[in-house]
Symmetry: D2
Subunit: 337 residues, 4 copies
């Protein structure tokens, strides 16, 4: 059993990772470290983890407990991993960071987008997990690399957990319910990440990216409208997608006329894609769970690849019931029978 | 006081029209006719109209009661107005039809989009009220008629009331909550209406229109991405919008960086528009209430123009409290003091 | 025109009061003062007040501007009115405080529950506006004062705006959506207020009050189960409610079998009550809008009574459209034509 | 591997059972039969079962395919099981019926409430699965059988899936969102079921049961207020609950002050209970998932007991990813690796 610690464990992405890990047959939960919630029962803050009444450990706990085959999943806020991740690596752990701190070149981490970088991930000690917007956008656009793209327009809709669990007026229930609006009209921090990866794949057309907040706790839909220099062959376009995702158990290319649905992928590592051609515009719609494939389950998939586990380990079910209590001092948590 | 009857009064658009009319200082509610709910108390079916416990009249009631200066707002399902509207006109009423039955040429009705056809509406006896998707799309795109447009991409998001009040699995709470998805991937009936009006304004570029259902009871956001032949001058684009909506009290052109919000226009006849230029793509985002500016309040505005009332009559407030009971047989309803 | 200032203007109750006041035919909006948002455009923080782009004034603005016939509505957090309200009174203003600071005896304010204290409110310079839970509970229970009550059980459900607009994890969209739970299991601060008023009416039976958060932005339902010493006469119970609310335009006693609905009273000053007898238990269910009858519109009703305005002034409609801009320095705001 | 068929497979309870069964290590999915959706892909109607593109079988399919050790879970509407269940039993299957058809005496089925009837269920061929309201209510009240109860008041709140998947206006998104209301004010069909079981346990006090619809797709909270003849000893009350649920892995008795949360039990077979004493009233709050412990997972738990499987089999995880396609004609479905 590989021991997996979660650092920065109080966010939505981290809590989702804890849920996924607790259902994973090949790992055991290690320490859960949170600067803001140190000492508090997990279940008080995350009802879904009610039975995991293990106390969060105080800062530094993971670093002093790391064993040579341990994994650390880092769920802290953007900016927080910069200094800490190297220490975990030096202590011998494999590290997967959910923040944006190590995604952009130059970086010592491998970009954890397994549909493109599986080989590199397999050999990596340090993976930068992609953002949810980049994940959905790249899944929708990358298969078009062989075509002559002149403009990329992405209209993305995200559940509010993408804004994190730090309290803010804009994430309050009474602000989100009943509204939908675009944001970041003058630029969004995820654009650089998307452009870096499109460019690495040879797609250099300008990108217009417009994110929206919709009244969802979780889920993401990215509608990509890719303008081509000329009218592409519809069957060639479809074949490109089929080829790109062949052998990938988590990406479903839907039949013509079937719409990707956030409800169909909620709580999973799945992605659904619909692609169609309209004159010289290709429309590719991708649905993922922003906390699943866009964060936590993608991290677990990356861990599986890094560790040589089967890719789907721990990703075909999620825990529903009792998790055993682990008291501080005890080295690991196990699920109860 | 002008008497206004509502035919096909059991739908969401019609109920919204009743709300608007009951707050209108220059009209009185006439008969409310519904084939499906005839004889039932209004308040039993529409909690917001709880105090309007006037019974719905049985089919034919309005036709036999029409006076020469009456107005009929038709709220029936698409297809239902085809035969009935002419009868109301022959009986001497002015008619505003919320359905799509008389929107497409050849038609004897004036297209009730006041930002463009105010003069024609002023002289009309029969107005076809635009659809909600066309309203939001045209508001976003029409000011660009002077420019050289090569492709129009519209990504629209609508509250579920757009699907009507007839029960269907796809409109159930448990299906809509927690999901977002595109629909009509192979064509949507509103496209012809949009194309007709764009073309009438001289915009003949191809349109790719993608509607989505989002977890909202009401509200609509249309993100229009208009691809130009060359990079337009940003200030000229903005000036075109300012000019187009000058003197229009219901359309707000927002400052740079401010996002149109469905919450800002809910229950109103307002529209919010943000426009910006990104290379040779103009992005114009428009927020309306699909039941307000996209249906009922637009109908009231059209009525105001037809009747020579001030444009904003009845559109700056909505009723909150007690409406007087009207029993069948009594000719009109009045608001209680 | 009476000038009405709003102090502590950044909360949900205060913003609702601004909406109500802007539709009031006999008042004009004065200064809006907020410690946290001083200097910021209103519309940036409250989309519904988008067009009120008047800047919030800095602390002290209202106090220095108060005229002899002005009214101040205080919307600050609980505890904040203690020191400031007396200053407004000394400066000659009439004051209505939405906080709990002056509700409990001994207090110099009149308790602003108009169904019981209308005469006192009419002569008051200072009114403590009731809490939303007490309002709904008292409406449901007070008419039973003539009966022999032995136990009162209230199961109340509230929209999350009751928790205020200060950011907190528990009020985040992702926490509220998909959940319902009781809170304050070991005591809730509103109990003292309810008990004080029940006792004043001669009802001294023990109260068990259980509040719940439900996934609503606004609205409140209080189910009161009143245990009697013996089986009461059902028609006598119903007659007691009818008598208690006779002549009250905002309280609707529903027919047998009809359920009070939060949707029926949203955005209004209305209350709906259903009462029925089950052995020796009377069940009285009351629906109000926690921000309307439970806060802002109740404050406007109190103001109407204090000023000698008709009770329903400003409470039968709410503003939908453009409010004129008022720049700091200008003394009041007016609605645009 | 035991083969489990699902009859009446188009409802919410049945779809939830399919999800649970597909994660069960000791069973394989058999035929899915639906009168209304026969021949249609499962995934077209249930996005969560997108990958289960096995076609529904036409009426009669299960009956003709039943093997001697098969189990049939019946998910049809109330009334539909009356004639069909006996045929499945005669064909040799074990049957678990989710409808109310066989719950009330006289009945040939065992009432499938495992916290009370585990021994009888273990030997049964036919189990009537309890309703969601009775499940939550009985969990909250039954431990009080040793006390002297004089009145039971239950205020229950349910997600809208409890109303089924048959389209109706009252279950539309636009009706449920933004509202909360009681229903069945003059009597609810579940009362007889609750009274039967309370009485069987020796609790004969009158019951006042008030169900509410809240804006949730799934989840149920029952607040039970049990009036005693005299003030009970608080620790004796708590001890009674602890004793009643000792050894039951799915029922969590929460610490004082902690509130049962629908979010904590969503998608699970868990129940959370908080109990406290207030004078001579005991308040017991129970949270369950109306589709889980209130329907599908309770059926799986009953199946486990009937079959001699470990009670928690299939109930500690749920499927997240790809299910293998099964074509009509093939006898069973298996999950893909």
């Amino acid at each position: 059993m590989t021991r997996v610690h979660v650092w920065g464990a109080s966010g939505y992405g981290a809590s989702e990772a804890i849920v996924s890990l607790s259902a994973h047959p090949l790992v055991e939960l290690g320490l859960l470290e949170s600067a803001s919630l140190g000492g508090e029962p997990v279940g008080l803050h995350f009802p879904r983890l009610r039975t995991l009444d293990r106390f969060f450990d105080f800062p530094g706990a993971i670093l002093s407990a790391i064993g040579p085959d341990d994994v650390v999943i880092m769920g802290g806020a953007h900016g927080s991993a910069k200094e800490v991740a190297p220490k975990f690596l030096e202590a011998g752990a494999r590290v997967i960071d959910l923040s944006e701190d190590f995604r952009l070149a130059p970086t010592r981490a491998v970009y954890g987008f397994p549909e493109r970088y599986k080989a590199q991930i397999a050999g990596a000690r340090f993976v930068a997990n992609p953002g949810c917007y980049p994940t959905a956008t790249l899944l929708a656009v990358l298969p078009l690399a062989p075509f002559d793209v002149t403009q990329i327009i992405v209209d993305a809709k995200s559940g509010i957990t993408g804004a994190g669990r730090k309290p803010s007026v804009r994430a309050l229930y009474a602000e989100v319910a009943g509204d939908i609006h675009a944001y970041g009209l003058e630029g969004h921090r995820h654009e650089a990440e998307i452009v870096q990866e499109l460019s690495a794949a040879g797609i250099d057309a300008p990108l217009l990216f417009t994110p929206h907040v919709v009244p969802l706790a979780r889920g993401m839909l990215a509608d990509a409208y890719i303008v081509m220099r000329s009218v592409p062959d519809a069957s060639a376009v479809r074949a490109a997608y089929a080829r790109y995702y062949a052998g990938n158990p988590f990406v479903r290319l839907l039949d013509a006329g079937v719409s990707p649905s956030v409800a169909a992928v909620a709580y999973t590592n799945d992605a659904e894609i619909a692609v169609s051609v309209h004159g010289n515009v290709v429309r590719a719609i991708c649905a993922i769970d922003n906390l699943g494939k866009g964060a936590a389950t993608q991290a677990v998939m990356n861990m599986n690849i890094m560790m040589g586990f089967p890719e789907q380990s721990g990703l075909v079910a999620r825990p529903l019931a009792t998790l055993e209590v682990l008291r501080p001092g005890a080295p690991t948590a196990r699920r109860s029978g």
